[in-house]
């Protein structure tokens, strides 16, 4: 699964206030700090940036940390705070998508003919 390279190009086409529900960051376009500011923020953290792009509403950085470990991070584009940081060995020091609370019970049955009796599925992650 690869991150689409067109994300940065699409960003420019977004309305000024658009923020997608699926995104990891939700700053309006007008509040974004420029790429150079994100690079400087990374530098202050001791990171060596190898790649930077807009993705999932954030600045996404790939490179190495002060200890030389490979990292992949997402910065809030308005505050430049780190919202996700993962070392390439698989660890992540901030929230993991998979440990979010399970989805709330569905309010309406899904529009899917396999489901009988109009009941939504009951889903649990253990």
């Amino acid at each position: 699964m690869r991150i689409p390279w067109i994300a940065a190009a699409c960003l420019a086409a977004l309305p000024a206030t658009a923020a997608l529900a699926e995104d990891d960051c939700h700053a309006p376009r007008a509040a974004w700090q420029p790429r150079e500011a994100a690079m400087q923020a990374a530098s202050r953290l001791g990171w060596r940036v190898e790649e930077i792009e807009a993705d999932d509403g954030c600045w996404e950085i790939e490179g190495r940390d002060a200890e030389g470990r490979r990292i992949k991070a997402k910065l809030d584009p308005a505050t430049l705070n780190v919202v996700k940081l993962r070392h390439r060995d698989g660890g992540r020091d901030r929230r993991r998508e998979d440990v979010r609370a399970p989805a709330a019970p569905l309010a309406a049955p899904p529009a899917n003919p396999l489901f009988q009796n109009g009941k939504p599925p009951v889903v649990q992650v253990n």
Partner: protein, 156 residues
Amino acid sequence: MKSAIAAFALTSALVAPGLAAARPVTFTTTLNNYGGDGAYLVLYLTDAAGRYAGTLWVAGGKSKYYDSLAGWYRATGGDPAQIDGITGASVGAGRTLEITLDLADALFDAGYVLHVDAAVEDMRDSPDDVAVPLTTQGAGKPTPGRRYVASLKYDM
């Protein structure tokens, strides 16, 4: 012939769901400790002719990654209408996803196959990580997966 009867029964079930025989079925998908991000998973069915029959659940919230669930995506084109209301968070390595729903009896012993496609960021996609025929005899028996799925079973 059997699949034609099953198709008729399922069609009837869809037209008059109140009259259809259905039972609660729990699908349990356990992941390996593959050492990566949360896995995107999709559980879907094909009929006896191998045609897409419907989606049961999608784990993983970002639709831009759905094309990595290649078998399902080929069948549906990622059509949001197929998964409206049946998506949730991705599933972490080593964890277990349990889905319980009422499923038409006509889907069992009629050639329907349950497929699980899996994908993990920066790792190889795994279409049909596991695929099992829906049979009453197969209930309760775990089937091993190929890459990210340790096992899949259904109970009813």
